[in-house]
């Protein structure tokens, strides 16, 4: 840096004043001129006037001078500021280099705190804050049917209760005024199977049927080729398909000439008309955890007779609000129902933004996570305040010296703040590395049923947030110690011996406060995590109604030409061959598995009450004989299906207890007849215990099991086997058995049944895992804080302890005293934390499952755990205190 000129330096004594400088300079000029003129013979007064005349417009010059002066002044001030900053940073780096241990611990602690915050922010940002990855996604609206049904009935009706018929969809689309476009997709993805043949092994494709305007409504342009044409979506139109980007990459090796080629699906040729862009991930928005290979047109004429199967999405016209659209829907659907008396229901719909539909139910969990990492950040701040204060003791003398030499208090605070900011920025840099790792890990949990998972990343917003919290943290943890340290009494600090005792007492009180708050915060985290963990364990403990372990499933393909009479023997043969394989204990086939997709039909007891408002829906499963025992569902009464239940014998069903309670309350349902399942009444031959079919966390709905041998209306077919052997080892032999009957059986994997359960609990598992980790982190940091404070106070009291021991205090006595001090701090912190936890746990009440927010056991366990951790972290300093040798302690003073 260039040295600033002398005049500036002494002008600074009274503060600089550019205006006065200009004035002085010009006055000197006039005086010099006047002198000159006098020397040449002018009279003094005349000389002065002449000098002023010659100068001309002195005001303007003065004005210019002042302005330039001020500019230079502020420039200089800024330069000085930079120089000081530079000096502060150099000083900080030097002092941190001399204190590597402190720097390393501080940066690591900060990195942990900031890292988890950056990571969680990235998740929150993607799921809650950032718009969906569609153009103008704010105008996309999700339709949920069944608004007029009670919540219980909605649940009982499953997916069928929330979706629409082709007629309802088309009528609404034609008649509404609010929407620029309304589109739909078929929610029963596997009703039709799509089997790719002709290129390698037969393969089952995960396919979604979409309405003709699906992609244009979302605003998605195919990356290659074109969208579906209207003709392709009509009955008898040319079969066409759009491929997802990943499928195109994997199956066709990114063939650039794929558009226009044909592929063989279900034995028919399909033209690939385009490839969707890499950014479009159907699963991440509409069906978390699902990877879609191919999209084909949903032919509405085909679906017209199928009941509720379509999910409807609309794009609002510009300027139309969601409320207006809701209002129109509230009027339009009942009106349509009047025109079409044949409609099964009125399709009263709840409209939400697509964004809310996708991430709405996650909001609470995410806010809770955000809160948890916020608490961790606070603990980090408290911890670092503590660490800074410990250093203050060692540096008290240095700071006092600097103040004595003329540094202002503000200047010292600035310097100490620079230090904390340098630390927090370094911590943030390292924390970002952690965040990248965490986010990468989360984004690659493909099977987790969280929406938008794959698009979670650390983006510019996350970086901005990280910087923001880094600065906030730096100021927060630096400010209190800076005030404390710079404000200490200079004289005392200078006079005192090297250990800086004078500041010690008041610091100690401050530090105790910090530790108490730290323990309190950790307590809140622990209790929250404990409650969620307990809920999670309760969820895992739920009696599913079937036994997922030691069972696996596989999609099967059979070809009976649609003849129901042939189906029974066909399936029987498949199951006979599979069951005969070594290692397989039993086998059965169902069209849908519990905790997977579901659909509902009606179920009415013959002769039962029939009222218009009565809900008669029941979830429907088509199964083979042997399926129920293979799943280890509990048959409470009656018998399982038998191969002798053929199309020609009395059609039969098995129901669950929920259905029995609703239809035949207080009676034995066995042998009773029921309507609604088929054209003719069917006979109930068995009752099974309730099975959790849609979620582990909600009560079971009425279910109906129908033998596949008597009803051809299946939704695909899944083979379930029970085995003690690892399913992967059986895959090839089972596949061989299936292929021996049907050579075109596609290659599919065995999926352990446990996977369905894991899938169903994966969001809860995800959140519990994170919160538990965060709580662990919080407790660790709190322990570190306790250790730091107790250890420091022991160091400070070394002399005192030495004296006491010299006077006869025993080791045990000294140790007990230190531990007692720790215990006091801990108890105060826990008391505070418990009160805070009581308030907080009420907020997370809705996230808990059969666990009270004030679950005494959880509170007790967490408090005990925290107390133990605290005492252990106090134990080490206590032991050190008890080993103080009186001689050394006294000699050192």
């Amino acid at each position: 840096m260039k040295r600033s000129p002398l005049w500036r330096r002494y002008a600074r004594l009274l503060g600089s004043d550019p205006a006065a400088d200009v004035n002085d300079e010009l006055r000197f000029h006039l005086e010099a001129k006047t002198d000159d003129l006098i020397r040449r013979g002018w009279l003094p007064d005349a000389a002065r006037q002449e000098a002023e005349r010659q100068f001309g417009d002195i005001r303007t010059v003065q004005h210019i001078g002042e302005r330039l002066g001020e500019t230079m002044e502020s420039r200089q001030r800024f330069k000085d500021y930079l120089v000081e900053c530079d000096r502060d940073i150099r000083y900080t780096l030097r002092s941190l280099r001399n204190n590597r241990g402190f720097a390393a611990v501080a940066i690591l602690v900060l990195a942990l705190g900031i890292g988890v915050n950056a990571a969680v922010f990235s998740v929150v940002n993607t799921l809650l804050l950032r718009p969906l990855p569609f153009p103008e996604s704010g105008r996309l609206v999700w339709f949920t049917g069944g608004k007029s049904l009670s919540q219980k009935i909605q649940a009982e009706a499953g997916l069928s209760g929330r979706t629409y018929t082709a007629d309802a969809y088309e009528e609404f689309k034609r008649n509404n005024q609010s929407f620029q476009a309304v589109t739909a997709y078929q929610t029963f993805y596997s009703s039709l199977q799509y089997k790719l043949t002709g290129s390698g092994e037969p393969r089952q494709l995960s396919t979604v049927e979409v309405a003709d305007n699906f992609f244009s409504t979302l605003g998605i342009q195919p990356a290659m080729g074109r969208d579906f044409t209207r003709e392709e979506c009509q009955k008898g139109g040319r079969p066409a398909a759009l491929l997802s980007y990943y499928f195109w990459k994997n199956q066709f090796a990114g063939d650039p000439a794929i558009v226009g080629k044909t592929v063989t699906v279900n034995g028919k040729s399909l033209t690939v008309v385009g490839v969707l862009p890499v950014s479009f991930d159907f699963g991440s928005v509409f069906a978390p955890g699902m990877k879609v290979d191919m999209f084909v047109p949903a032919v509405m004429d085909f679906w017209r007779t199928w009941g509720n199967t379509l999910a409807v999405v609309g794009r609002l016209k510009p300027g139309v609000s969601l409320l207006q659209a809701q209002d129109e829907a509230d009027r339009l659907f009942p009106h349509l129902k009047q025109i079409h008396p044949d409609w099964y229901e009125d399709y009263a719909s709840a409209l939400t933004t697509l964004k809310d539909h996708v991430s709405g139910q996650l909001r609470r969990s995410l806010v809770m996570l955000w809160f948890a990492v916020g608490v961790i950040l606070l603990i980090v701040c408290v911890n670092l305040s503590n660490l800074q204060l410990s250093r203050a003791a060692a540096r008290g003398k240095e700071l006092a010296m600097r103040r004595a030499l003329g540094a202002s208090r503000g200047r010292l605070i600035r310097q100490l703040l620079t230090e904390s900011l340098v630390l927090s920025i370094a911590g943030a840099a390292l924390g970002l590395c952690f965040a990248f790792a965490i986010v990468y890990y989360i984004a690659h949990q493909g099977t987790m049923t969280l929406p938008l998972l794959a698009s979670i990343r650390v983006d510019a917003a996350s970086l901005g947030w990280t910087l923001l919290i880094a600065v906030m943290v730096g100021v927060l943890f630096g400010f209190a110690p800076a005030l404390k340290m710079s404000g200490s009494n200079i004289q005392l600090a200078l006079k005192d011996n090297a250990s800086g005792m004078a500041a010690g007492r008041s610091h100690q009180r401050f530090r105790s406060t910090l530790v108490i708050s730290e323990i309190g915060l950790a307590c809140v985290l622990l209790v929250g995590a404990g409650l969620l963990l307990r809920s999670f364990l309760r969820v895992l403990d739920v009696d599913l109604g079937f036994e997922p372990s030691h069972a696996a499933s596989m999609q099967v393909d059979y070809d009976d030409g649609g003849k129901l009479a042939a189906r029974g023997p066909n399936l029987q043969e498949i199951l006979r061959r599979v069951s005969a394989l070594p290692g397989i204990e039993s086998a059965g086939i169902a069209d849908m598995l519990p905790l997977d997709r579901n659909r509902s039909w009606g179920l009415d007891a013959v002769g039962g009450v029939t009222s218009k408002d009565r809900d008669d829906s029941a979830l429907v499963y088509l199964v083979t004989p042997g399926y129920i025992p293979t799943m280890q569902m509990h048959l409470r009464a009656g018998r399982d299906f038998a191969w002798s239940d053929t199309p020609d014998t009395q059609h039969v069903i098995i129901i669950n207890e929920a259905a029995a309670r609703r239809e035949w309350p207080g009676q034995n349902p066995i042998g009773k007849m029921a309507n609604g399942v088929e054209k003719n009444p069917v006979r109930v031959i068995g009752v099974i215990a309730d099975v959790h079919e849609s979620s582990l966390e909600s009560a079971s709905s009425p279910e109906v099991y129908i033998p596949m041998t008597q009803n051809s209306d299946t939704e695909g077919a899944t083979l379930v086997v029970r085995t003690r052997v690892a399913p992967a080892l059986l895959a090839s032999s089972v596949l061989g058995a299936l292929r021996s009957l049907n050579p075109s059986q596609p290659a599919t994997e065995f999926r352990p049944l446990q996977g369905l359960v894991d899938h169903a609990v994966s969001p809860r598992r995800f959140f519990v895992l994170l919160v538990t980790i965060f709580a662990g982190l919080g407790v660790l940091l709190a322990a570190l804080g306790i250790y730091g404070v107790i250890s420091y106070s022991v160091t400070q009291k070394t002399q005192e302890i030495g004296v006491r021991m010299a006077l006869g205090a025993t080791n045990g006595r000294v140790m007990r005293d230190v531990l007692f001090g720790t215990l006091l701090l801990t108890l105060a912190g826990i008391a505070l934390g418990t009160v805070a936890s009581l308030a907080v746990s009420r907020l997370i009440g809705s996230l808990l499952f059969s666990t009270s927010p004030w679950d005494a056991e959880t509170f007790l366990a967490m408090v005990l755990m925290l107390a133990t951790v605290a005492l252990v972290s106090g134990y080490f300093p206590a032991r050190r205190a008890s080993r103080v040798s009186p001689m050394t302690a006294l000699r050192n003073s």
Binding site: P5, D24, E25, F28, H29, A32, G56, I64, L68
Partner: protein
């Protein structure tokens, strides 16, 4: 105004100021004095332009200022060339000389003799 006194071109003043500081620090008044004397009373620098020019040079870092005492013990602001100012002076002087030579050549040109078009 005297007819044989010339108005200064804008920009020329800067180089004259820099030149006047070549041999050491001067205050504003002696700069005008210097220029007047060296030009033998042909160039008269008006105060109204001198000071703003000086301050601009200062804010550009070509000169730096320091308060000192004048010959008759008055507090005066002395200006001094910085390294950048010296560089600028050298460069401007050679520019000026090249310019003057070129203009002089044109002005002193004899009757036009064009090789292509013999008279």
């Amino acid at each position: 105004m005297d007819t044989n006194r010339l108005d200064l071109f804008r920009g020329t003043l800067d180089v004259l100021i820099l030149k006047s500081l070549m041999w050491g620090p001067l205050h504003g008044y002696s700069i005008t004095d210097f220029i007047r004397r060296q030009s033998e009373d042909v160039l008269l620098v008006e105060e109204g332009t001198l000071y703003p020019a000086l301050w601009r040079l200062e804010s550009k870092g070509l000169v730096e200022a320091e308060w000192g005492l004048s010959e008759n013990n008055r507090k005066a602001k002395f200006y001094q060339l910085t390294a950048a100012g010296k560089r600028r002076l050298r460069q401007e002087s050679s520019n000026w000389e090249a310019y003057v030579t070129a203009v002089a050549k044109v002005l002193n040109a004899p009757r036009l003799t064009s090789p292509e078009k013999p008279a």
